[in-house]
Amino acid sequence: MEFLHEIAKRLGADAFRIHYTVVDGRGAYFENVVRILYFSAGEIVLRGRGGSVRVTGEALSLGRYFAGDLEVRGDVRCVAREGGDGKL
C-alpha cells in the first residue's frame, strides 16, 4: 500500500482508474479492474480503484481476465463511468 500511495502522490489518483480501449464491433480492453460487479450478455459492470464502469452492448462475453486486465468481447455500445473518485 505504501508503494501505491507513493505512485498516487506523484501521478495522481487517476493513475488507478479503470482505463479502457474500445474497438468498434469487436470488444473492449480494460485495465485496473478490481472486481466484476455484474456480468450478463447485455451489461457488464466493473469496479476499479477510482469508481465503476458500466459497459452495455450486445452479445457481450468476457475474454481473458487476470491481474486486473479484462477483455470484453462483443458489440460494445456504451462505456459509462459511475461514481466519483474514491480513496485508496
Binding site: 472486481r35 466484476i36 460487479l37 456480468f39 457481450l60 462475453s61 468476457l62 481473458r64 481476465y65 487476470f66
Partner: protein, 284 residues
Amino acid sequence: MGSCEIFVEGVGAARIVEKLAQGGVPVRAAFAEKRGVLVRVDVKHREKVFAILRGSCYNGKKVRFLGASRALRRLKGRPGLIGAALIFLLAVPFFQSRVLRIEVTGSGAYYEQEIVRLLAREGTHVLSAPPADRARITAEILAFPRVSFCTLSHEGGVLTVQVEVSDEAAMLAGGCLIAPAAGVVQSLTVLAGTARAAVGDFVEAGGVLVENVADAGETSLPATVIAAASLRCTADAQYAGSREEALAQAYLEYGPLEGMKIQKTGTAWHITGEYTVRAALNLG
C-alpha cells in the same frame, strides 16, 4: 497446452468469474448463460477450478476439452487406432523401399523371363530390396541380341525395366575379313578389329585382311570385325565359244574389266584385264 470449458451452475455470473480470478485462475473467456456461466480456462487449471468451487453454492460440471487436449484425450481412449496408425506409418515407407512387382516394358518386353532370371541371380525378387548395382544389370541386358536401350527404375515399389530392341542392333557376324581374290589392296576401312594388310599390299585369295582381335599391348582380346576393303585384281581366263559368248562369260565372272584384252588362242578366247572386288564384314 489446451483449454477446456466448464459450465458453472449458479446465480451471479460475475461472482463466479471473480471467484476464479481471485483464486488465481486466469479466465480465458466467460459467457453468461441462463443458469450459470460457461468459463474457459487452461486445462492445467481444471482441478483448481473445481477446488475453488467446492464448498460454495456453485456447481461445476460439463467439462469440454478444446483444441489439442481434446484430440489427445480422444486418442488415449483408442489404443487400437493409435497402434494401427503407427503400423501404417511404419509399413508404408518399408514396403515402398522394397520391390513389390517387376515390370518389363518396351519393345524388348519379350525378354521378360530372361530378365527376371537375371534379376533373381542378382538377388532381386518380390519383397527384396531393389538392385544395388543397376549398371551391371543394364550392361548384361544390353548384351542380349538386338537390345539397343535399357533402363532400370524403382518407384512406388515397382521395379520397371524398360528394354528397347532395334534391327540395327542385330547380331554381328564373327570371323576375319578375308580377301575374296588375289589382288592389291586399294582401300581399307577398319572400324573394329586389327588390319593385317595395308593399302598397296598384294594379298593372296583367302588371305586375312582384318583379323578379329584387338591388340592391347602384348595381349590380344577378341573383337568383332567391322571393316571393308577393295582390291584391284587381275583377270586372266580362257573361254570357248564365240567371241561374244567369251566376253559375256568374262563379264559374269569378273564384272566390268578395265584394260581388257581379248585374243584368239586356238579354239578359245584368252581374256585379260583388271577388275575391282569389294569385301566387307558387318559394314555396309
